[in-house]
Amino acid sequence: MSNMKRRTFLKGTLAAGAAGMAVSAGLLTPRAVLAAWPTAAFEAKTVPDALTSLMGSDKLDGSDKITIKAPDIAENGAVVPVSVETSIEGVSSISIISEKNASPLSASFKLGSGTEAFVATRIKLAKTMSVVAVVKSGDKLYSTGKEVKVTIGGCGG
């Protein structure tokens, strides 16, 4: 009995501690600021969790109609130009997942009705990994990926 109480007490302390640290590190969004920003998806530590949290599903259909442009070898992992374009019709969103980053979801773009299925940005990659583009059309999720090598430079890079 006393063991169980102690365990619960410890668990509670840890939880409060972690949350407290997260808040002070600015990782938790003040609720009032952006209700829509998908906190759980951006904090998810695995690709399936990020996808389920963001889209309600982690079932991806590979598609050759998506073009993801990213370098073979990133010059600097802090600034990696990435673009995604697709000929799939009726695209409502394009998301970029950096599979081995601590939090794999990098970005999600919701497109207006007249907006073309194309986005470009620059992302941080912690190490060599696949960058996966996830295209949502209707209820389906299509994807394609590209491996980007991230290396250790010799010139302080």
């Binding site: 010059e75 600097n76 802090a78 990696v80 470009a120 430079g153 010139c155 890079g157």
Partner: protein
């Protein structure tokens, strides 16, 4: 008298000899640029201003993606604002420079025969501030780099034309810079030339080594590594530290002489600053 005559005669003969034993800066320049032409025959001369991007397609593609809307544009804007803002005494930077400071990057560094010292663009910017009662700015980054970026930007396309006047002090400064460039330093015992002349185009771990020809034309530079803009001599310091040598202070005589020699070697190439690099 005879001894004196023979000395004069010898001096006369030596003076008339072709300068094969004592290389002039012009000789150095020719040899330097020839070396790279032979080393990288497929690289057009003008492309050296783009450093490693003239040598590697994959990194060039990434650089071009960044150049499409480069982060240093924010710096040019800030630099322009500061450049046009009058000092407390009402004067502006324009009053310190030829052509009001527009389109003059290609003339720096120059040898000031009055003071007997090399003057860099950054040096001239701070000298202008101090001459007008303002505090000097930090040498490596921040507002000074922004102003330098704006001035470089207005000079894009102008051809570097560093002058070495027929003054023994200028030649001495040039030679000191040249010596620095070729001298080994640091625990890693490496010279600038080791990486950027003899190993230009080779890799050091995963980095590609840029040729020293055209190396300074794009400064100040927004390095992805720094996440901000920095000056030539910021990079000199960093590079020295990378071979585990103690960095000299920015605008020290050592670095100014080095920058004098180093920029002179790119005479004939166009200004393309500010630049974006990894």
């Amino acid at each position: 008298m005879n001894k004196l005559l023979s000395i004069i005669a010898i001096l006369g003969i030596v003076a008339s000899l072709p300068q094969t034993s004592v290389a002039t800066p012009e000789d150095d320049l020719k040899a330097f640029q020839e070396y790279y032409k032979l080393r990288f025959p497929e690289v057009p001369f003008n492309d050296y201003v783009n450093g490693v991007y003239a040598l590697d397609a994959d990194s060039r593609a990434q650089w071009e993606a960044i150049e499409d809307f480069p982060p240093y544009e924010l710096n040019i804007e800030k630099g322009k604002e500061m450049f046009n803002k009058p000092f407390k005494n009402g004067k502006t930077y324009a009053s310190c420079f030829k052509n009001e400071g527009i389109g003059i990057r290609q003339n720096y560094p120059y040898f000031d025969t009055k003071t007997g010292k090399v003057v860099t663009l950054e040096g001239a910017i701070n000298a202008c501030r101090e001459a007008n009662g303002e505090e000097p700015l930090g040498w490596k980054k921040g507002p000074l780099a922004d102003i330098s970026a704006y001035m470089a930007y207005t000079s894009r396309g102008n051809v570097f034309d560093i002058k070495i006047p027929d003054d023994p002090r200028a030649i001495d400064a040039y030679n000191k810079g040249k010596q620095f460039f070729y001298a080994k330093r640091g625990q890693l015992n490496m010279a600038c030339a080791d990486c950027h002349v003899y190993n230009a185009g080779n890799r050091i771990r995963a980095d590609l080594l840029s040729p020293a020809l055209g190396q300074l034309t794009h400064f100040p530079v927004y390095r992805s590594k720094w996440g901000e803009l920095g000056t030539t001599q910021r990079r000199y310091g960093g590079c020295n530290e990378q071979v585990r040598a103690k960095a000299f202070k920015p605008q020290s005589e050592e670095y100014n002489n080095l920058e004098y020699f180093h920029t002179y070697m790119s005479n004939g190439l166009e200004v393309n600053g500010p630049g974006a690099r990894k």
